[in-house]
Amino acid sequence: MSINQEEGPNYFSRYLWFSGFVAIVFLGLWSRLWYLQITHGEEYGRKSMENILKNVDVRPSRGRILDVKGRELANNRPSFDLYFNPKTFRRKKTEALDLLPIAKILDLSEDELNDLAAKSRKKNIAFLLEKDLSRAQLASIEALFESIPGIEIRTSSQRTYPFHSVTAHILGFVSEIGSGDLKRLDSFGYRRGDVVGRDGIEKAFEPVLRGSPGLDRIVVDARGLEQHSDEDQRFLEGEFQPVGMIPGRDVHLTIDIELQLIIDKVLKDYPSAGVVAVDPTDGSIRALYSKPAVNPNAWSSRLASFEKRRADQDPFKPLMNKAVSAYFPGSVFKVVAALAALEEGEMVVEDHVHCNGGYHFGDRRFRCWKRSGHGSMNVETAMQRSCDVYFYNVADKMGTDAISEYGKMLGFGEKTGLVIHERAGRMPDKKWYTDHHPDGFTPGSALQIVLGQGDVVATPLQVALAYAAISNGGKLYAPRLVDQITNDDGNAQFSFTPELRRELDVSPKNLEIVRNSLWMATNQPGGTSFRHRPIEFEVAGKTGTAQVHTFGKERIRNKEKAFQFRDHAWFASWSPADEPRLALVVFLEHGGSGGGNAAPIAMKIYREYFGGNESAHVEKKIGKKEAEDE
């Protein structure tokens, strides 16, 4: 103890004052805590929960589209998308300059970069900058994670079509939902960024493919990243009930992608075509091909607007599905007249007509395509050789309405009932001419209709179904494009059964005569498609060459005309002839002649499809000079 008795300084009152001051200040702080923690504790507790809990939509994965053997025609692949989180940005005071490396990778202009920087200062939620990064872009951006806070890669699902344009017209494509659609579809649970089917099966089966979105709740940290640990899951306890997501269902088509690919390969020299292959036993569509087509992968991606412009300018109309668009059917339509004549008793098999290359109707002369004439023809040989004069006789006797009646019976002029978009075509009758034709009804119209010219237009699909009906004994089926729908476990949820539109009201005997005439056309010398017939199996079929444009009286060779004035080439057929497994219609828009162009294509398709690739080109040279085309 110090012995120094000197009085120390007197601070006692100040000690009390200051201690009191400290106590009052701290009580003040504690009362602030009372306000925050007791009075408003519940409110702030809720706010802290709102911070870490986030409701998330669980988007359903879109169902696949498969072919008849279960091969994927449409599927989903992961897409890596670049997002910006402005919250993180602003806290780190990110400037446009800091984003320069990103601009380089994404090839952004200076304006776009400044827009981005401005956006990142204004917005509070993460926004999408670039969808579907390439591998190289992804790698470069991942290297930037450390230096640029706030950039995020999120995965989404990108629709992909492994067969590109080959299936384009059947499947259609998907695209991101626009604000207009959003208003309409909001109540169905669509959200910004969802895709919606725009055409084909994607559109027709949108509700099936899409599935149903779910609602879930996750725990996030300040950066918005999901927290997965078990500890964090305790925050999720409570009244919240998640809504289960139902994945989109798979749509199984009746299409055989192998056949579709064969058709695509065989048609490589023709710029514009439509091909339909139908199973005559139940109306199942095995191939529905149209050329040219767009690449649906590009249409479903960020290049869509560019691709759209390009497609609009293409003279071959890639957006048009030629398999279901209506054209002059030409001579493939003669089956209608043949059947009508036999049924109505205007002609019997034994009735012969002499063809000298022309037919007088009133003061007009209608020509046969063979100027020198076919000589004496009955219904079978007239079909075999496609004699026009024989059918002028038939038309003259029967008139427009009778032919039209049988055309309608075979399904011409009406929609077939395809699930995707199709045209109805036109099967004119007297009434139609009176109502719609500028010249009104003229008796001569029958002579044009009978050849599949004039005002009759039909789709390759209609022709295929009509031929299938003739081949199978008179059953006209609705086209069956979808086989079944399965859920994600692979269990069938719905199967589409064959749908018979009608039994043709014709006698089996007459049908047999028509069938035989078509067999003769391909298998008897002199037949229009005789020289291209395959040896391994028999085909029955009819060629057609539809004139698109008449150049006065002069006949100009097809190759010398401008493309859009050239004739359409048709070949409508089935095979094997006696026990049909496939009805096939080849339509080459401005493709030349039925016998010279369409029939060989059809034969190649049959050969590859039935025999596989090994039975290469077995062209029969016999009768080459005979079939100088119709």
Partner: protein
């Protein structure tokens, strides 16, 4: 004076308060640094506290007359360091606060607090004036201390300069000051305020004040961390969410939660009662060291106690006011709670001085 009496007079109660607060700080850092860093901040803090204990022990054996003797030298040395930091300092976030010595780096502005305490205590001790101080008499020490504060302000480090000013002001008020002098000072302060606003404050400092005054206008802007800190406190409610359970901190919603905003972790996890405990410990520590002034043998010893109390008080008050949204964000640590070696070491040196003083003062003369 022999060793025996020195230990007999050892201030065990003060030691208890120091350990209690340091323990609370380290436990809190254990939680606050849990999810964020690869290395453990709380362990780092523990090591610094251990080193601080060594310093305390060493200083305890040193008679405070040596502190008194070297007070001006120490103050001058810190001034030199502050000049050095302005020239050689490492720039971080737009201010030069750190002096890198190769092995470790530290902030001389922290030492300036101790420098001002030593200087002021020595100055009043030298004058040993029993009557009230006039304005003219206060001019010289104020200019010298003001110079030190100015150097800190240049870094710029607004928070620390304000705290140093507050420490000096508290020590002055513990002496007698003439009422006229006091009123004049207040008037000068009010007159310089607009001038300081226009010329003294940097843009970001003005932003902070502005955002403080309109707290909820821009929840993601400047006051984002304050509003998140308030949510952290509020959501702690009465008893808190429990150790390691505070989602606001654990999920990273409150930035700087190991440094300036460390209290929001304690508030979130231990609630109103935990914060009460913390405030109580601060109060006990402050008033206990302040009590030295009532039994010290000389003005220097008394003012060391006052200065240390003032340092802890102003730090704690400004920091807590800031994180609770009562004061603008100026960037100031919370004693014994915030992580950081220099800050803790400064405190521990202060504690060491208090021990040196308290063990060599007479037994309570009053009260």
């Amino acid at each position: 004076m022999n060793k025996g009496t020195l230990f007999e007079k050892f201030d065990w109660v003060f030691l208890l308060f120091v350990f209690a607060l340091a323990t609370l700080g380290i436990v809190n850092l254990h939680s606050a640094s849990q999810s964020v860093h690869g290395f453990d901040v709380w362990l780092n803090q523990l090591v610094w506290f251990g080193l601080g204990c060594v310093v305390i022990t060493a200083m305890f054996f040193v008679h405070y007359k040596y502190f008194k003797e070297f007070a001006y030298v120490a103050f001058g040395f810190v001034i030199l360091l502050l000049i050095a930091v302005l020239i050689f300092g490492t720039e971080l976030n737009g201010s030069r606060r750190w002096l890198n010595l190769g092995v470790f780096s530290f902030q001389p502005s922290e030492l300036m607090k101790l420098g001002v305490i030593l200087f002021t205590a020595r100055y009043f001790d030298d004058k040993n004036q029993s009557e009230s101080w006039s304005l003219a008499q206060l001019f010289i020490p104020s200019v010298i201390v003001g110079g030190g504060i100015f150097l800190v302000l240049l870094e710029p480090d607004l928070g620390t300069s304000l705290v140093i000013l507050a420490i000096y002001g508290t020590m002055v008020l513990f002496e007698k000051v003439k009422l006229t002098a006091l009123l004049t000072l207040v008037l000068i302060g009010l007159l310089t305020l607009p001038f300081a606003w226009n010329f003294g404050l940097k843009e970001y400092q003005k932003d902070r004040v502005v955002s403080f005054l309109r707290l909820d206008d821009d929840a993601y802007g400047n006051s984002w961390q304050v509003s998140q800190s308030i949510i952290a406190f509020g959501s702690g409610r009465v008893t808190g969410k429990g150790h390691l359970e505070g989602s606001q901190i654990q999920k990273g919603f409150v930035p700087e939660h190991e440094n300036d905003f460390v209290a929001s972790n304690w508030g979130e996890e231990h609630g109103f009662l935990g914060m009460g405990l913390m405030l109580l410990l601060y109060f006990l520590l402050i008033s206990w060291s302040l009590r030295i002034s009532t039994y010290a043998k000389d003005r220097f010893a008394a003012q060391i106690g006052v200065g240390f109390s003032a340092m802890v008080f102003w730090h704690a008050t400004v920091n807590l006011g800031m994180v609770m949204g009562l004061l603008p964000v100026v960037g100031l640590t919370l004693p014994f709670m915030s992580s950081g070696g220099t800050a803790l070491m400064t405190l521990m040196i202060g504690v060491g001085m208090v021990f040196s003083v308290s063990s060599r003062s007479k037994v309570e003369s009053r009260g």
